[in-house]
């Protein structure tokens, strides 16, 4: 079976330092891939290259067997990326933030207010829909960003340090969501320094041993 995402001899550099060398990664449906490495080892650089945010790599990245440059629209409509900064506007309410994220990622006409409320309830922000995000705590703002996991249908989640600022219970919940998503046939690539408590086998990719 063709892997969902495939990298062929991918090398990444940043500021003249070679961070990733000849990475051949096969991301299968239902797989969870944890990228590990010390600070500055190129975890974020690799994720940004995989998403197509960065062009500073050599080698090829394929989506369902086709080069991502050719099937970019198809790839982007199946990809959900949550980076260090979550794209949440402090001046807007969680509902307004998610309405925008929903509209640029999916067909807005099908995304009702109800879907946004359900997503917010899922991340534990029930009752906070209409308060401005700057009044929420850092962890709650992070959760607004994570609510996109339930709003935007995707096949591949790329999560850069998703556990930052999330409390213990939230970490367990997020691990549960990742596991559930993978068991439903999705694939997850994430970076974290945290030991994942997931029953399913997690593939580890170690960077920084060059």
């Amino acid at each position: 079976m063709t892997p969902l995402l495939e990298t062929v001899d991918v090398c990444c550099e940043r500021d003249d330092r070679l961070l990733v060398e000849n990475l051949c990664l096969h991301v299968e449906q239902g797989g969870i891939y944890q990228i590990e490495g010390p600070n500055g080892s190129g975890k974020t650089t690799l994720l940004r290259a995989l998403c197509g945010l960065s062009s500073r790599y050599t080698g090829e990245i394929r989506w369902r067997g086709e080069p991502v440059k050719k099937v970019r629209m198809d790839y982007l409509s199946q990809l959900l990326y949550i980076g260090h900064s979550s794209g949440v506007k402090a001046a807007l309410t969680p509902r307004e933030n998610l309405a925008w994220h929903g509209a640029i990622k999916t067909d807005a006409t099908q995304k009702t207010d109800h879907a946004i409320e359900a997503a917010l309830e899922k991340v534990g922000l029930y009752g906070y829909e209409d308060v401005p995000c700057f009044t929420l705590s850092a962890g709650q703002q992070r959760r607004v960003g994570l609510a996109r996991l339930f709003l935007v249908p995707a096949q591949l989640w790329v999560l850069d340090e998703p556990f930052t600022a999330i409390d213990k219970q939230g970490v367990a919940e997020l691990e549960g969501w990742i596991e559930e998503f993978a068991s439903n046939g999705g694939a997850v690539i994430l970076t974290t320094h945290h030991q994942l408590a997931i029953a399913q086998s997690v593939q580890h990719i170690r960077l920084g041993n060059l």
Binding site: C51, L53, S55, G87, W100, I104
Partner: protein, 234 residues
């Protein structure tokens, strides 16, 4: 957490309107930010009669130039923040990763920028024109040229803003990039108002401004989208 097997399509008009609505809403929540260029326009224009004396003939001669130069500087001042907040909070990454073309989204952002700077400047300009003793025959030409010209300025400014958003101190570089491109708009804007004041037909210069705008609306978003991608790539 649904896994739709079919490709989720994104509605283009939906994405365009969502970005436009979000930017207008953000400006409404941060009113002081978008008032800055307007206050600048108001203050500088009202200082001129104090600086060069209240002689009506002298003021009337200088009025078209003063109004246009100050409006241009106000637009430049405002364009610096066009992508800054989106860059800092990661929204720009999400816009690039959206299946909706970046072309449409930067167009929506630029349009909202014009609605918040160029459009209010246009509405303010007749008031300040009276203050600067501009003959009433030039008022309509001033409003029309300002409306059309400031929209071109917004699109040109957005190219510079996209290119410099990744730099910590892009302010000076931004003005160096966009000021030369502003100059044709300034020349035709001022000459439209001057022709109207002198009682000459001004439709020709106004049409040139319109041609600038047509070119800016269609081509500038390509440059803005490319500039934004380069800035995020770093």
């Amino acid at each position: 957490m649904s896994l739709d097997s079919d490709i989720t399509s994104v509605s283009l008009s939906g994405a365009f309107l969502a970005t436009l609505r979000r930017d207008l809403l953000l400006a409404y929540r941060r009113r002081s930010d978008f008032m800055n260029p307007l206050a600048f326009f108001l203050i500088v224009c009202s200082l001129f009669p104090l600086g060069i004396g209240p002689n009506p003939q002298q003021l009337a001669l200088l009025a078209p130039g003063i109004l246009w130069v100050v409006a241009l500087l106000a637009c430049m001042l405002a364009s610096d923040t066009l992508f800054r907040h989106d860059f800092d909070d990661g929204s720009l990454e999400q816009m690039i990763l959206s299946p909706a073309p970046l072309y449409l989204q930067v167009m929506a952002k630029t349009l909202s920028h014009w609605l918040l700077t160029g459009f209010p400047l246009t509405l303010l300009s007749p008031l300040l024109a009276v203050l600067l003793q501009l003959p009433s025959s030039g008022l309509l030409a001033l409003c029309l040229s300002m409306a059309i010209g400031s929209a071109s300025l917004s699109f040109i400014g957005a190219i510079g803003a996209g290119l410099t958003v990744g730099l910590r101190k892009g302010g000076l570089l931004l003005s160096l990039i966009i000021l030369p491109l502003y100059i044709p708009v300034l020349i035709f804007g001022v000459s439209t108002v001057k022709s109207a004041v002198d009682g000459l037909p001004y439709i020709g210069t106004l049409a040139v401004l319109g041609a600038f705008l047509a070119m800016a609306v269609t081509l500038a978003p390509l440059a803005i989208a490319a500039a934004v991608k380069i800035s995020v790539d770093n």
